[in-house]
């Protein structure tokens, strides 16, 4: 390689590496803010790394798995409450998991299931309850046909609403 090209290559690679390091440091410093949501355990113990805790009245997003059997739906209205536990792979629940209660008044997304990941946006009250204004379903990266899911015993029942429940919102 002739010296001029060598010099240009050095300059270009120095700039790229330098910017890469800068971007890395910035992202590292911002890592807590780039996280889209709190995990239920982080509501109790604070964010991993910084130990930053959410305070009552703070607007935040919470992400976790809907604890099976914890979903309570009002039969007359769209009000619903359920418990969230930390997402773990493979999916498993135990009694000792820290859980956060989410209450919500609105139509749940199609993918909402017990044992499914969701992200809720709302206000923290009483230290461990979220009054959600928005509930989003978090899909996992697994795709499979219905027959295979049946064999694995995966449940796939969509939330359904009666006309009375839908009318209560308007």
């Amino acid at each position: 390689m002739n010296p001029r090209r060598k010099k240009r290559l050095t300059i270009v690679s120095t700039i790229i590496i330098g910017l890469g390091v800068v971007a890395g440091l910035v992202l590292y410093a911002l890592s807590q803010n780039i996280d889209l949501f709190y995990k239920p355990s982080e509501i109790y113990h604070g964010k991993e790394g910084t130990g930053l805790k959410a305070i009552d009245g703070q607007r935040l997003r919470i992400g976790g798995l809907v604890v099976p059997g914890s979903v309570h739906r009002d039969s007359e209205s769209l009000k619903v409450s359920f418990k969230l536990a930390d997402m773990t792979m493979p999916i498993a629940f135990s009694e000792s998991d820290p859980t956060v209660t989410v209450s919500y008044d609105g139509i749940l997304p199609d993918l909402f299931r017990e044992g499914q990941g969701i992200v809720a946006n709302g206000i923290l009250v009483n230290g461990n309850t979220i009054e959600a204004s928005e509930v989003l379903a978090k899909h996992d990266e697994n795709y499979m046909p219905k027959e295979l899911a049946d064999d694995l015993g995966e449940q796939h029942v969509k939330p359904s609403y009666s006309q009375a429940q839908l009318d209560s919102k308007t």
């Binding site: 989003l136 697994n142 046909p145 027959e147």
Partner: protein, 252 residues
């Protein structure tokens, strides 16, 4: 030496004709793979157990997203060789790739939003994956704008090349955003080492679609590269002869 083998392609005329030879083959292969893949994916692949038929947007969204990053990498490599070795043709190919990459980024964003509305419950969320992909679109638009901002093509190529190279930092951020941070976007289904997280009868049509889209992109790049080379060399005798021959062919 590799240089001896590559050297003839530094000549615009040779590259122009080489891209011309590649073009019909890529077009044919793209047509075959895409028609087989799309029919297979949209009509015969089994529906997902939770998402039903909505998941079929996967066969457009994932190839578009993967290619949006792949094209960017190709463009950045072309930009690097044009900056360091001052290959004029590398500049032309980077300029040819930018709008194609921008289009695929746009397709990935729009199909993702269309899937997100029924599945997640929202069109858009500022999570790390979606935001970094949006930044990729802006990088492409910046590169396109710089290529067209200067009268002098080599100056424009230099400015656009620097932006393209700086933007490479965004690629690993997009790829690993779903692992580094909590995001609403799910992790990678395909493209990670080992087994894809989907059953085989859903994965094969994806692979066929992906290969089809790759050939389609190659064909588009060849097409745009040829016209870039022609506009940049419009004063050269070989282009004039070419144009004159074409005119004779069509003039009756």
């Amino acid at each position: 030496m590799m240089w001896k083998w590559l050297h003839p392609y530094a000549n615009p005329e040779v590259s122009y004709h080489f891209a011309g030879k590649l073009l019909p083959w890529c077009t044919r292969l793209a047509f075959i793979f895409l028609s087989v893949g799309m029919v297979w994916a949209l009509l015969f692949a089994p529906a997902d157990y939770q998402q039903g038929d909505t998941f079929r947007i996967f066969y457009l969204h994932v190839p578009a997203a993967m290619l949006s990053m792949g094209i960017y990498l190709g463009m950045a490599i072309a930009a690097l060789s044009s900056l360091v070795w001052q290959l004029k043709l590398a500049d032309a190919s980077a300029a040819a790739m930018a709008p194609i990459g921008a289009t695929f980024t746009f397709i990935a964003l729009v199909t993702g939003a269309a899937w997100g509305k029924p599945m997640w419950g929202t069109w858009w969320i500022w999570d790390a994956r979606l935001t970094s992909e949006l930044i990729l679109l802006f990088l492409y638009l910046g590169v396109i704008a710089l290529h067209n901002a200067f009268e002098d093509k080599s100056l424009a190529g230099k400015a656009a090349g620097i932006l393209a190279l700086v933007g490479v930092i965004n690629l690993p951020i997009i790829k690993y955003s779903v692992e580094w941070w909590n995001t609403l976007h799910q992790g990678a289904t395909v493209g990670k080492l080992g087994q894809p997280s989907m059953s085989a009868d859903m994965f094969w049509p994806f692979l066929v679609c992906f290969i089809g889209f790759s050939f389609f992109v190659t064909a588009l790049i060849c097409l745009r590269f040829r016209s870039e080379v022609l506009t940049r060399n419009s004063m050269r005798p070989w282009v004039r002869t070419l144009v004159a021959n074409e005119e004779n062919k069509h003039a009756i």
